[in-house]
Symmetry: C2
Subunit: 338 residues, 2 copies
């Protein structure tokens, strides 16, 4: 097998990096202070195995009891844990297509099978996504989805989970940029798990911190699979401070959404077909010209966007919502090419 | 399955904590500066997926090429990755007994079988530890071992690896407190992998950082199994600074070894049978009296040591080498009980 290959991470600041959906802004200053305090307490002791400080703070912020949450070393860690807990060798994992390629890799690592169910062409989910199947053990639903930035409404997600014979993990990595989320569904259906990350909306991709919300008996089961100390003392302190600063989150979200609207509108004016996005990126195709050369010419000019080619579906560009000046440069260069 | 249960982590500083082999001293001050600098660079970007800065520095320090190393979120992450890469459902994983119970849990999580080979009563390895077996896919050897603190000499480890039909992971979590290590063997035998952690000898249990050394084609295979960004930007910076400060390491090691010698000698005078240790803990049994009540009475007095009862082998106390004043308190209380 090939393994999952993440987007490019060039070792320089001289590129305009719009390819891996990072937040262009610095995180809340509360994070810096919390890390400083954790350093002062010292690092020689093991961290709290459950990241209890984060769970308590997140519980207050989200209105979810602490024992309904498990922390992870980024949401990749959580997706790995859930896959290992639910899917055995030869069993089946379902994901929509096109979506996050990692889900398929996780199945391969388990020696499991995966089934990709194609989105409808308007990025809605076909009814087959909720069908039973032999040995189906886990379904992943990124919501908002990548690369499309589209959302399945909570009512539909609940209906889907009720029809499925297995857990449904709703990957809400981008949900803070959306209008609605599925957190409330967890209490209504034990099959629903919701995963979140602080990488995107809290501008902490460098920190590796996420959490999954599920009913307590599900969390207990997942805890047995995770590494004993999967989150470190600095990241627990940082994440606790970050989720505690909801004023920062609201301000950052407003900036990203304003830039996203401008980016989408400008790309439309350039002739792209723009998928309405509820995430911090925009997916575009072009009805008349191939987009791959655009990606390559942008890259030559130090502007990284993500080119995705999905066999049986088509290709497009996924452009992360950077800072206004980054988006301006990207748009100017694209305009000059078209 | 029950999952692995780590040693107790009380949420208070008022206990004398000698139960989880943490280093009692603060890490190198270079770590604090490096974390501070990483914070100043910002956390909004993904970290380098391979922890390249650490690999470069460790390469200089250890004399091992950078592409012979993979970083992990603590050595637990590395042990998990190696198990997932090597052992499929129903296949066999071997470990010595008594040793680190986690190895057995890792097999269970894979749906694999595990075979515990008993140490000889002098903690040497029996010849059967190197025998072939149907579907044997991985052998773990903690070296120094826990709870004994004993070491299999490198010549014996090489011979063992050459006889085995599968990879041998030498878990050197405690090796910086020993006389010799197995790092040089990796170049001599592609079946040998050596894992290390910064938790113990670099006083960074709170940080979660380890690395595994293996031949490059083995590393390439392991990289496919790890999460894309398994180490965060702060821990990579901290670990790089820590391994770069070998003066701190030598000084800390000298302190721990001096305290260990005093602890071992004093426990011997109290009538315990003390296993000669090359780690930062000491394993003791008592020829005449049960040790469990000693553990319990110490705990009542706020002194945590680890009581281990190994069915078919016997029980004992594993006492971490704390600071001198912690060891003094522990010894005084033990003396009063005996």
């Amino acid at each position: 097998m090939a393994g999952y290959v993440p987007g490019e991470q060039p070792g320089t600041d001289r590129v305009v990096k719009l390819n891996t959906n990072e937040n262009p802004y610095r995180c809340s200053p509360a994070v810096d202070r919390a890390v400083q305090e954790a350093l002062e307490r010292g690092l020689q002791r093991y961290p709290n195995p459950m990241g209890e400080a984060f769970r308590q703070k997140a519980s207050e912020v989200l209105g979810v009891p602490a024992d309904w949450m498990m922390c992870g070393n980024g949401s990749d860690d959580l997706l790995t844990i859930v896959t290992r807990a639910a899917v055995g060798q030869g069993q089946l994992l379902r994901l929509p297509y096109p979506s996050y390629i990692l889900y398929k890799t996780l199945a391969e690592l388990q020696g499991a099978r995966s089934e990709e169910v194609h989105f409808n062409h308007d990025w809605s989910l076909p009814a087959t996504f909720g069908k039973s199947a032999n040995d189906l053990r886990l379904v992943f639903l990124p919501n908002p989805n990548s690369p499309s930035g589209t959302v399945a409404p909570p009512e539909e997600v609940l209906d889907l989970a009720e029809r499925l014979p297995c857990p449904l993990l709703v990957d809400e990595a981008y949900v803070d940029f959306a209008q609605r989320n599925c957190l409330d569904l967890v209490a209504r259906c034990e099959k629903i798990l919701v995963s979140r990350t602080l990488s995107k909306s809290y501008a902490l991709a460098g920190l590796r911190f996420g959490y999954v919300v599920a009913q307590p008996h599900v969390i207990e089961h997942l805890v047995k699979v995770k590494d004993s100390y999967n989150c470190d003392a600095l990241s627990i302190a940082a994440a606790t401070a970050a989720i505690g600063d909801q004023v920062w989150l609201a301000d950052n979200r407003a900036k990203i959404l304003a830039t996203r609207a401008r980016l989408a509108e400008s790309l439309g004016k350039l002739g792209f077909k723009v998928t309405p996005s509820e995430a911090n990126f925009v997916w575009v195709t072009h009805p008349e010209q191939p987009v791959r050369p655009l990606f390559e010419r942008l890259k030559q000019q130090g502007i990284l966007v993500r080119y995705m080619d999905y066999p049986g579906w088509g290709d497009g560009l996924r452009i992360s919502v950077g800072a206004d000046e980054q988006i301006d440069v990207c748009l100017q260069r694209l305009a000059a090419m078209m």
